[in-house]
C-alpha cells in the first residue's frame, strides 16, 4: 500500500527551505573559433575555481566540455583524479569532486555545453542522471551522480523504463520536459520506494537532443535537505515564432504552484516570457543556456538562475529553469 495523495493544502511535495544545495557550480561553455570558451558561470562564491575556468578553453574532445561536444551526449564524471578533467587542482581546492556536462545541440550544431559541478560529502543527497535506450528498446541508466544516495544509485543502475513509464520513460515518450512532484510513492517501480527512502521528492526530466538517433534523457532529482533548486520552471517555447514562451509548469518553495490553467485549453492566464526580457527571455532570445548569479530579473529572494534550452532537431521547444 502506498501513501495516497495527501490533502494538506500546503505543497507537501516541495522541499523545505535550506541553505545548502546539491549543485555547487554551473557553467555555460560556448563554441568560439573551434574552441569552447566560458560564457556564463554561477560559481557560488568559489572565486579561485571561477578564475581558473575563465582562463581555460577546450578544443573538441578536450576536457569534460570538449568530451560532451565530441561524443554528442551528456557525460557524467565521478572523481577527477587521473581523469581527462582539466581543472583538477582548482576543483580539488574548491571541494568539487564530480561533474556532469550536457551538450546543447540545435540539429547538428553545438550551441553550448552546460557543466554542473558538485561537491562530495556524506550529507548531500540528490541525483543527476543520464538515461539512454538499450538494445531491448528500454531506457537504461547511462550514468549518474547521486552524492550520498548510494542505495538509490544502486537501484537505479538496475532499473529499466519502457516508453511512457516513470519520469525517464515519460519524458522519452512525450519528447518534452516533465516535472514530477512526489517521486517516493504511488509508482510501480522499486526505484520509487528507494527515492522515498533517500528523501528525493521533486524530479525534473528533459530530453537532450543530439545529432545522433540515440535518445538521451536527463533527470535532476531533488531532495528536501540539499535541493537541486528551490524553484523549478518549464516553459513551452513552441509558440516562440512570435518571440514568446508560456509557463507550462512550475513550483516554488516560496510562491507555491506557478502554473496557471483555466481548463479551456487556451492557457490564457499562463505567465509569458518574451525574448530577451528577463532571465528566461535571455534563453529564449539567444537559444543558449544561461547561468546567472545575483543581479536583477530574479524572483524575490532568489540569487541564482540556470536556464537550459531544450531542442527538438533545430527547433527550441522548451526551456527548463531552476533557481536558488
Amino acid at each position: 500500500m502506498t501513501a495516497p495523495v495527501k490533502e494538506s493544502p500546503a505543497m507537501d511535495a516541495i522541499p523545505e527551505t535550506t541553505s545548502d544545495t546539491f549543485i555547487q557550480v554551473c557553467e555555460v561553455w560556448v563554441p568560439e573559433n573551434d574552441r569552447l570558451v566560458l560564457a556564463d558561470g554561477n560559481y557560488n562564491g568559489l572565486a579561485a575555481f571561477e578564475e581558473t575556468s575563465r582562463k581555460t578553453s577546450f578544443a573538441k574532445g578536450e576536457g569534460l566540455p570538449g568530451k560532451a561536444w565530441d561524443e554528442a551526449r551528456p557525460v557524467v564524471l565521478k572523481g577527477f583524479d587521473g581523469s581527462y578533467f582539466r581543472r583538477i587542482e582548482a576543483a580539488k581546492e574548491a571541494g568539487l569532486t564530480s561533474a556532469v556536462a550536457v551538450p546543447v545541440f540545435a540539429g547538428a550544431t553545438l550551441r553550448a555545453v552546460l557543466v554542473v559541478l558538485c561537491g562530495d560529502d556524506d550529507t548531500r543527497i540528490g541525483a543527476i542522471e543520464v538515461w539512454t535506450e538499450d538494445r531491448s528498446g528500454m531506457l537504461m541508466l547511462d550514468d549518474g551522480y547521486y552524492g550520498a544516495a548510494e542505495e538509490f544509485a544502486f537501484v537505479s543502475q538496475h532499473t529499466h523504463f519502457p516508453k511512457g513509464q516513470g519520469l525517464p520513460g515519460g519524458v522519452w515518450a512525450a519528447q518534452a520536459p516533465i516535472l514530477m512532484r512526489d517521486l517516493g510513492s504511488g509508482y510501480r517501480f522499486i526505484r520509487a520506494s528507494a527515492a522515498g527512502k533517500a528523501g528525493l521528492t521533486t524530479g525534473l526530466g528533459l530530453p537532450v537532443s543530439t545529432p545522433t538517433l540515440q535518445p538521451y534523457v536527463l533527470t535532476l532529482l531533488s531532495a528536501r535537505g540539499t535541493p537541486i533548486a528551490r524553484r523549478f520552471e518549464i516553459w513551452d517555447a513552441r509558440a516562440a515564432r512570435d518571440g514568446r514562451a508560456i509557463l507550462s509548469d512550475g513550483i516554488c518553495e516560496r510562491e507555491g504552484p506557478l502554473w496557471r490553467d483555466d481548463g479551456d485549453g487556451t492557457r490564457g492566464e499562463a505567465p509569458t516570457a518574451v525574448a530577451w526580457k528577463g532571465m528566461v527571455g535571455q534563453v529564449l532570445g539567444s537559444g543558449l543556456p544561461v547561468a546567472a548569479q545575483g543581479g536583477s530579473g530574479l524572483p524575490a529572494d532568489y540569487t541564482s538562475f540556470v536556464g537550459l534550452p531544450v531542442y527538438r532537431g533545430e527547433t527550441l521547444t522548451h526551456i527548463v529553469a531552476w533557481y536558488n
Binding site: M1, T2, P4, V5, K6, E7, S8, P9, A10, M11, D12, A13, I14, A106, G107, A108, P162, K163, G164, Q165, G166, G169, G170, A173, A174, Q175, A176, I178, L179, M180, R181, D182, L183, S185, G186, Y187, R188, F189, A192, R238, A239, R241, D242, D249, I251, G256, P257, W259, D261, D262, G263, D264, G265, T266, R267, G268, G313, E314, T315
Partner: protein, 812 residues
C-alpha cells in the same frame, strides 16, 4: 446591517467561483453555509489528471483552503450529505441539522455514468471523478504487475490511461467509437492521438464494445469484449460520461429535465433557488467543461446581488492534459453543405491542422502536434470575423498574415532560416536555401546535397516552394503527376510509401503522406483504398465509402436509376436449374430486359433498387453468386467447350476456366480483369484480347497477358508456355497478384505492362520463389475477399431501405 443567508449545496468549481464573485461584489452581505458531500472544499477537479500522473500535487490544485473559508466566514459542512430541501420553509436539512436560507444555490454537479455491464459492481471497478478515485488509481498503480483497463477514449479516460501508464501500469483503453476523442477530434487528429498513446505503451482498442466484467473473489479480473477478447485487469476505470446530479432538486419538486432547469439568470423554477454547474440544464443544453460553468457562476453571483446579467453559452475549446499530446479543438468541425476545409499536415513532426470555414467565417478548428496558434484561431471562431482576406494563408497562423497580397509562397518565404523543412533528415530552411544559392537548382540537386525530401518525400512540395521562392521564374516545377490536388505524390510513390512505411489505414496515409485535404477526394480515395487492401489484406478492410457507386451497390446503376444484376456463371457454364432460377427471378421482379452478355452470362436489366436484396436472395438460394459485373476485380473467364465436346479441342479449356474463376473471384484489382481460355488456336473464346488469355495447344498452355478490346484494341503478349494446367493456374494467379501489388489504380493490365515492360513482368515471374510468394499473398487476401457480397446484403434484406438518391456518387 443584516446579512442574508445563502446556503450552497456542493463545493465544486462552479459554486466556488460564484462565491468568489459574490464576495468580491458584496463582501459583507451574506452568511454562507456550504455543504459538500466530499470531505473537503473546492479544488480544481479538472487538474486531478496531473495529480494522478504525478505532475501536480493535491496541494497545488486546492482552490479554496481553510483560511479562505474562514476569511469569508463560510460555515463549512464538508462530508455531510444534504437530506432534504424544504422550499416552503426555506430550509436545508443535512445529516447534522437544518439551516434556513434566503437564497439557495444548488451546485450538485454530476455523477459519472457506469455502464451496467455484468460485473460492474465488482471491487476494482471505479469511475474517475474525485480525489478518492484518483487515490485508488495511484494505489493500484503501485502494485507490481498490475494491469488497468480504461473504458472510454474521451478526455478523462485518456488522461487516466496516461497517468496510470506513467506510474508503471500496463494499460488498455477500450473505446466504442472508431477513433479516440470522437466528440472533440476528427479522424485525422484521432489517428495521431492514438499513435502518440501507443508510442507510450498504451494498448488502444477502438470500435470495441464491452460485454462483461469478469471477477474473482469479488474483485475485477478481466473485461470481455463483444468479440470475445478478454483483457485481464486489476483495475477497471469507467470514463464514459457524466449525468447531471438532479436527485435532490427533483425531490424538492424543482423543474428537472436532463438537468435542473434554469433561466438566463441561473434561477430555477423556484425564484429563491439558483443552480449552476454540471447539474443544470439551460435552454436544452447540459455542460461538462469548465468555461461555461465559470460564466454561470458569474451570472449567479450577479443575480444574487441584484445586478443584471444573463448566461449565454459560448464556443468551447478542448485540451488534453497529457504532457506531449498537444491537441486543440474548438467550434464545429462536422461536415456540412457550404463548409470548406483547410488542411495542413507536417508528417515528420506529427502535425495536423484543420480549419472549417463557412460563409467566410472560421467556425471550427482541430489541431494536433502544433497548437501554438490555438488562441488566435479560437478568437476568430468566437468573434466570427470575416476571414476571406486571409483565406490563403490562414492556416499558417497570425505570424503570416501579410494583408491581401499574402500568398502561400510568402508564408514559406517568411519562415525563419532554422525552420525545419525535412523532418526525416532534420534539414532546416537555411541549409536548403544555401544549397540552392550554391547551385542546386532543381529538386534532385537539393536532395543530393542536403538530403531534404530524400526520405519520405512528403516535404517535396515545401522544397519546391523554396526553390520557387529562391529562384523565381528560373525554377521549373517537375512534371511528375501527383494523384490529385490532395497530395504531391504520384500513385507509384504512394504505393511505395504505403508498403515501406507500413501505413495500414486511410488516416495513416492522409497524415503520414501529408494529404492537403481532410480525407481525400473522389480521385484519390478509391485508389488509396485499393492500395491499402492490396498491401494489408488482414489489417485493412475495404471501405465501401471509398468505392464507386456500382461497387458500393454491388450492381451497375443504369441511366434510369434501376440496376442490372449479373449472376456468376463459372466459365460460362450454367444449368437448367440456374436458368430456371434466373427466369423465375426475372418474372417475379418484373425485369424488363434479359440479355446474354459477351462474357457468357445473363444480365437482368432494369431491376429496381429496393428489389436488389430480395432478388439476390432468390438467386442465392439457387446457388448463384454475384458476377461482380460492376467491380474493379475479376469479371468473367470466357471459355470454349474444349476437349469435352469440340473436335479440335486440345485441353479441357472449360475446366481450366472454371478453376481460374473459382480461384480469382471476389478479388479486388486495380481495374477490371477479364480472362478467357480457348481450347485450341482457333481461339473461339477470343482469349487473345483479354487481360489474361490462355490458348490451349497440344503441348500445353500458352499464357498471354495484356490484351484489350475496348477503347484500345490490343493482342495479348506471350507471358509463358507451360505444360500443365497447374502451372497455367500458378502463373495466372501470380500475374494477377503482381498486377495487384504494383499497378496504378485504374490502369488495366495492358497499360501497366506498357509502363513496367513485359520483360520485367517475365523476369519477375520467372522466379519460382517469387511466384510462390505471389500465390501465397493472393490466397491470404482471398481468405478475406473470396465471398459473395450479395449473400451478405441479402441477409439484411428485411432491414434494407433504398437510398434517397441512388444516383449520388459520393466516392466519385
Amino acid at each position: 446591517m443584516t446579512r442574508k443567508k445563502l446556503v450552497v449545496i456542493g463545493a465544486g468549481m462552479a459554486s466556488g467561483r460564484a462565491l468568489e464573485h459574490l464576495f468580491d461584489a458584496d463582501p459583507d452581505g451574506w452568511d454562507v453555509t456550504l455543504f459538500n458531500a466530499e470531505p473537503r472544499g473546492n479544488y480544481n477537479r479538472i487538474m486531478l489528471s496531473p495529480v494522478l500522473s504525478g505532475e501536480k500535487s493535491y496541494g497545488e490544485i486546492v482552490i479554496h483552503d481553510d483560511d479562505w473559508y474562514a476569511d469569508h466566514r463560510v460555515t463549512c459542512r464538508f462530508g455531510e450529505r444534504v437530506l432534504a430541501v424544504d422550499r416552503a420553509a426555506r430550509t436545508v436539512t443535512g445529516e447534522t441539522g437544518t439551516v434556513a436560507y434566503d437564497k439557495l444555490l444548488i451546485a450538485t454537479g454530476s455523477n459519472p455514468f457506469m455502464i451496467p455491464l455484468p460485473g460492474h459492481d465488482l471491487d476494482g471497478v471505479i469511475a474517475y471523478r474525485d480525489l478518492e478515485d484518483t487515490n485508488r488509481m495511484i494505489d493500484a498503480a503501485a502494485t507490481p504487475g498490475a494491469r488497468a483497463v480504461v473504458i472510454g477514449g474521451g478526455l478523462l479516460g485518456l488522461e487516466a490511461a496516461a497517468g496510470l501508464r506513467l506510474r508503471g501500469m500496463e494499460v488498455t483503453v477500450v473505446h466504442l467509437m472508431g477513433h479516440l476523442m470522437d466528440r472533440q477530434l476528427d479522424e485525422a487528429a484521432g489517428y495521431l492521438l492514438r499513435k502518440d498513446l501507443e508510442g507510450r505503451g498504451i494498448d488502444v482498442r477502438v470500435s470495441a464494445n464491452s460485454k462483461e466484467i469478469l471477477g474473482e473473489n469479488g474483485k475485477v479480473k478481466a473485461l470481455v469484449l463483444e468479440d470475445g477478447t478478454e483483457l485481464p485487469c486489476d483495475l477497471l476505470v469507467m470514463a464514459v460520461g457524466i449525468r447531471p446530479n438532479t436527485a435532490l432538486a427533483a425531490e424538492a419538486g424543482l423543474a428537472v429535465g436532463r438537468g435542473i432547469h434554469v433561466d438566463d439568470q441561473m434561477i430555477t423554477s423556484d425564484e429563491h433557488i439558483l443552480s449552476v454547474g454540471e447539474c443544470i440544464e439551460h435552454d436544452g443544453a447540459v455542460f461538462g467543461l469548465v468555461a461555461p460553468l465559470y460564466d454561470q457562476a458569474k451570472v449567479a453571483a450577479a443575480t444574487l446581488t441584484g445586478t443584471e446579467a444573463a448566461f449565454k453559452p459560448r464556443e468551447l475549446s478542448t485540451k488534453l492534459k497529457v504532457t506531449g499530446c498537444d491537441l486543440f479543438s474548438a467550434g464545429d468541425f462536422a461536415e456540412g453543405d457550404g463548409r470548406e476545409d483547410i488542411v495542413y499536415r507536417d508528417p515528420a513532426r506529427g502535425v495536423y491542422k484543420r480549419l472549417v470555414i463557412e460563409a467566410d467565417r472560421l467556425i471550427g478548428a482541430v489541431m494536433y502536434g502544433d497548437t501554438a496558434d490555438s488562441n488566435w484561431f479560437f478568437g476568430l471562431i468566437q468573434s466570427g470575423e470575416d476571414i476571406s482576406a486571409m483565406r490563403e494563408t490562414l492556416i499558417f497562423g497570425p505570424a503570416y498574415q501579410g494583408g491581401p497580397d499574402a500568398d502561400p509562397l510568402s508564408a514559406v518565404a517568411a519562415l525563419p532560416r532554422d525552420a525545419e523543412i525535412c523532418g526525416c533528415n532534420g534539414i532546416c530552411k537555411g541549409t536548403i536555401t544555401d544549397a540552392i544559392a550554391g547551385g542546386a537548382t532543381d529538386l534532385g540537386a537539393v536532395r543530393a546535397q542536403t538530403k531534404a525530401s530524400a526520405s519520405c518525400g512528403t516535404c517535396t512540395g515545401l522544397v519546391e516552394q523554396l526553390l520557387q521562392v529562391t529562384l523565381g521564374d528560373d525554377f521549373e516545377a517537375p512534371t511528375a503527376q501527383p494523384i490529385c490536388a490532395c497530395c504531391d505524390l504520384s500513385h507509384e510513390d504512394v504505393r511505395r510509401l504505403i508498403k515501406g512505411r507500413e501505413l495500414k489505414s486511410q488516416e495513416a496515409v492522409w497524415q503520414e503522406l501529408g494529404w492537403k485535404t481532410r480525407n481525400g477526394c473522389h480521385v484519390c480515395r478509391p485508389a488509396v483504398n485499393f492500395y491499402l487492401l492490396a498491401d494489408w489484406p488482414l489489417e485493412y478492410r475495404d471501405d465501401p465509402q471509398s468505392r464507386f457507386v456500382n461497387e458500393r451497390k454491388h450492381a451497375n446503376i443504369q441511366k434510369d436509376g434501376t440496376f442490372s444484376v449479373v449472376p456468376r456463371m463459372w466459365g460460362g457454364i450454367t444449368s437448367a436449374a440456374e436458368l430456371r432460377a434466373i427466369a423465375d427471378a426475372a418474372e417475379k421482379y418484373n425485369v424488363p430486359t434479359v440479355k446474354v452478355t459477351g462474357g457468357q452470362r445473363i444480365d437482368l436489366l432494369g431491376v429496381r433498387g429496393e428489389d436488389l436484396p430480395a432478388i439476390w436472395d432468390d438467386l442465392g438460394k439457387a446457388g448463384l453468386v454475384s458476377g461482380h459485373a460492376y467491380s474493379k476485380g475479376l469479371r468473367t473467364v470466357k471459355t470454349c467447350v474444349g476437349t469435352d465436346h469440340c473436335r479440335f479441342g486440345t485441353q479441357d479449356s472449360t475446366g481450366l476456366g472454371i478453376k481460374l474463376e473459382q480461384i480469382l473471384w471476389g478479388s479486388w484489382t486495380p481495374h477490371k480483369v477479364k480472362l478467357a481460355v480457348s481450347g485450341c488456336p482457333r481461339n473461339c473464346a477470343e482469349a487473345t484480347c483479354k487481360d489474361v488469355g490462355i490458348v490451349c495447344v497440344d503441348s500445353g498452355y500458352q499464357v498471354g497477358i495484356g490484351g484489350a478490346a475496348g477503347m484500345d484494341v490490343k493482342e495479348t503478349e506471350r507471358l509463358v508456355d507451360v505444360a500443365t494446367e497447374a502451372e497455367a493456374i500458378e502463373w495466372t494467379t501470380a500475374f494477377i497478384q503482381l498486377y495487384r501489388e504494383n499497378a496504378k489504380y485504374l490502369d488495366r493490365p495492358y497499360k501497366w505492362i506498357a509502363k513496367v515492360g513485359l520483360d520485367w513482368v517475365k523476369e519477375t515471374l520467372a522466379s519460382a520463389d517469387e511466384r510462390a510468394r505471389l500465390v501465397e499473398a493472393f490466397e491470404l487476401s482471398q481468405s478475406i475477399y473470396r465471398k459473395d457480397p450479395w449473400a451478405e446484403h441479402a441477409k439484411q434484406a428485411e432491414r434494407y431501405q433504398p437510398l434517397a438518391d441512388l444516383t449520388l456518387e459520393a466516392a466519385e
